[in-house]
Amino acid sequence: MATLVETVDLKKTYMLGKVPVEAVRGVSMKVEAGDFVSILGPSGSGKSTMLNLIGALDKPTSGKLLIDGVDISKLNDNQLTDLRRRIGFVFQFFNLIPRLTARDNVELPMAIADVSRAQRRKRAVELLENVGLKDRVNHKPAELSGGQQQRVAIARALANDPKFLLLDEPTGNIDSKTASEIVSLLKRLNVENHVSIIMVTHDEHLAREANRTLQMFDGQFISEAVNQQ
């Protein structure tokens, strides 16, 4: 199996005003293709920083971080951007573009990646169907419920056929019933469509839905658990 993410003694220190904050203090881990991993930790544990690093949104201070085999510490901004096209982001606050319809939102990453209009239109509709939003294709985010918006966000994340999905508190902003629907959707994608998933959350129940849970505290991984489904 191919290794999607590999970190060795990964460290990230950033400045909060004039105070250096060691957000990630020597993390080593590995995520293989097809895996469904959750990173669990309370706020301030450094999990958001981990997410930014794995998402190629930020560069490590030291240590090794390979994403899809690429050492990101050697990349410039442009190359980081290219790398991000291979990662499917899903945010806590959905982060859809409000003025675009569901379909246009799903098309956006494909437009950015220069996919032809006809092709991306077809794929966007397929993806929305796959997440159960066949009849919401032409709705704008404001006309959709929280759960529906998150499904659009997941469809968007899958648009460019990414190496893995990277989720940040995917159910943090929706009610528990809808949240469990999102979880089943993620599981289905993982099992049926072989989508690899890395999920960052502070919600223990949600974290247990993944195959594996890495518990983070104070910038370090303190335990790793394989979850029995």
Partner: protein
């Protein structure tokens, strides 16, 4: 990202804030509109004056007026026409030249004819301000004394009668008049017609007390309407009497200008003969050629256009600052969106293009609408000018929108919009995705 996708995305952002975009565009419209209106009016004015001049001053004629720099001094004073009892210059464009005290005399034509083999003939013109009296009503005119035969040869298209005849061998009391002399309102209400007798009045200021000299003249013909400003050549407000009659009536043999006709209009001929004449009169005269006048005119209009265009351009700069302001507001509002776009793999230069695209669309729309409204405004102003709304009897100007002005205004509008959007666009492109995504 493909160009049309970039523009599509930019356009969707503009559509979201229609009022804001419309107001920003309005700034560009006003700036471009002002530039186009001012330039097309002045260019139209330049064209009609130039046409007017070339009709009155063909390229193979020279006009000699007294004074060493008659052309250079005071164009404005000439255009208003001969006010005062003794206008110094023949050509209305000319200046004063009064300081020299030099005079031209009618019989100088003999010497001038002999100056160069390139000269066909020369013609003296006596010119005074005066009045025509018909039915007890005085109307202000310019009185000219010319040789009718020579004058009609010189101006075969304009010194032509519309009614009556142009006598080839006129009696002393015969005159021909310009179209506006007998129809001052240009509305068909005639003060008199060809064949009538009218009084000619000239206020003689050479003696004290001042006296009004008069005689009764027979109107042989009325000239065709010429139009324009009457800058040179026959004028709609001119009254033409035979040269000998003018000499007797004004009691003087001096003339206001001598028109020289050349065998050809070669540059070298014009230059050489001009130099010969100037030298012959010891530099006391100015020889005006159409090329000299036209180049002076184009210099003057160039300056006017630069000045007016510059003022209008300032309003476009203001519009540019408005664009910059609105783009910065937009950048702040959309910080999070920029973060999302970057997380989705959008390159910095694409973010830059999206912001520049937005202002380019605004600039393009503003420039198009601005050119259109400037053109409409110019035509409204031209109408008002023609109707005399700004005083006087009005004059006709056809606004001129050259391709240069059209394309220049378009390019300028878009360029200003893009230049002022550069800074906000650059800032947007430099946003770090981590920070932008965290932005509330």
């Amino acid at each position: 990202m493909k160009t049309y996708d970039i523009f599509g995305y930019s356009f969707s952002a503009i559509k979201l804030r229609k009022l804001r975009a419309a107001l920003t565009t309005l700034g560009v419209i006003i700036g471009i509109g002002a530039i186009v209106a001012l330039l097309s009016i002045t260019q139209g004015l330049q064209l009609s004056i130039t046409n007017d001049l070339s009709r009155g001053l063909s390229s193979n004629t020279l006009i000699i007026v007294p004074g060493s720099n008659a052309l250079g001094s005071g164009v404005g004073n000439g255009v208003s026409g001969g006010s005062g009892s003794r206008p110094r210059t023949g050509l209305n464009l000319g200046g004063s030249g009064a300081s020299s005290g030099f005079r031209l005399y009618v019989n100088y034509t003999n010497q001038i004819d002999a100056l160069s083999p390139d000269i066909t003939s020369s013609l003296a013109v006596i010119q005074q301000s005066g009045y025509v009296n018909a039915d007890g009503l005085n109307s202000s005119v310019t009185l000219y004394g010319v040789n009718f035969n020579q004058y009609s040869q010189l101006y075969p298209t304009t010194f032509v009668t519309a009614s009556g005849t142009l006598p080839s061998n006129p009696a002393d009391n015969e005159i021909v008049v310009g179209a506006r002399v007998n129809d001052p309102g240009e509305n068909g209400t005639l003060l008199f017609s060809a064949g009538d007798n009218v009084g000619i009045v000239w206020t003689n200021g050479t003696t004290l007390p001042v006296v009004n000299e008069t005689y009764t003249a027979h109107v042989s013909g009325v000239l065709q309407k010429i139009g324009g400003f009457g800058l040179a050549g026959p004028s709609d407000t001119g009254v033409y009497m035979p040269l000998s009659q003018a000499e007797n009536f004004f009691g003087a043999t001096q003339c206001e200008m001598i028109i020289v006709q050349l065998k050809n209009s070669n540059n070298s001929t014009v230059t050489d003969v001009s130099k010969d004449i100037t030298n012959y009169f010891g530099g006391q005269v100015t020889v005006i050629s159409s090329t000299a006048v036209l180049s002076l005119l184009s210099t003057i209009f160039g300056t006017i256009q630069l000045f007016l265009g510059g003022i209008a351009a300032i309003s476009l700069l203001v519009a540019g600052v408005g664009i910059m302001n609105i783009m910065i507001v937009s950048l702040i509002e959309r910080t999070r969106e920029i973060g999302i776009l970057k997380a989705l793999g959008m390159k910095s230069r694409t973010v830059l293009s999206i912001f520049l695209g937005e202002s380019a669309i605004i600039g393009l729309m503003g420039a198009f609408i601005g050119i259109l409204s400037g053109w409409i405004l110019a035509n409204i102003v031209a109408r008002l000018l023609a109707s005399g709304a700004f005083g006087g009897t009005g004059f006709k100007v056809t606004p001129l929108l050259t391709p240069e002005v059209f394309l220049g205004a378009l390019a300028f509008g878009v360029a200003i919009s893009i230049i002022f959007a550069l800074y906000p666009a650059w800032r947007a492109s430099k946003l770090k995705p981590v920070d932008a995504l965290r932005y509330e």
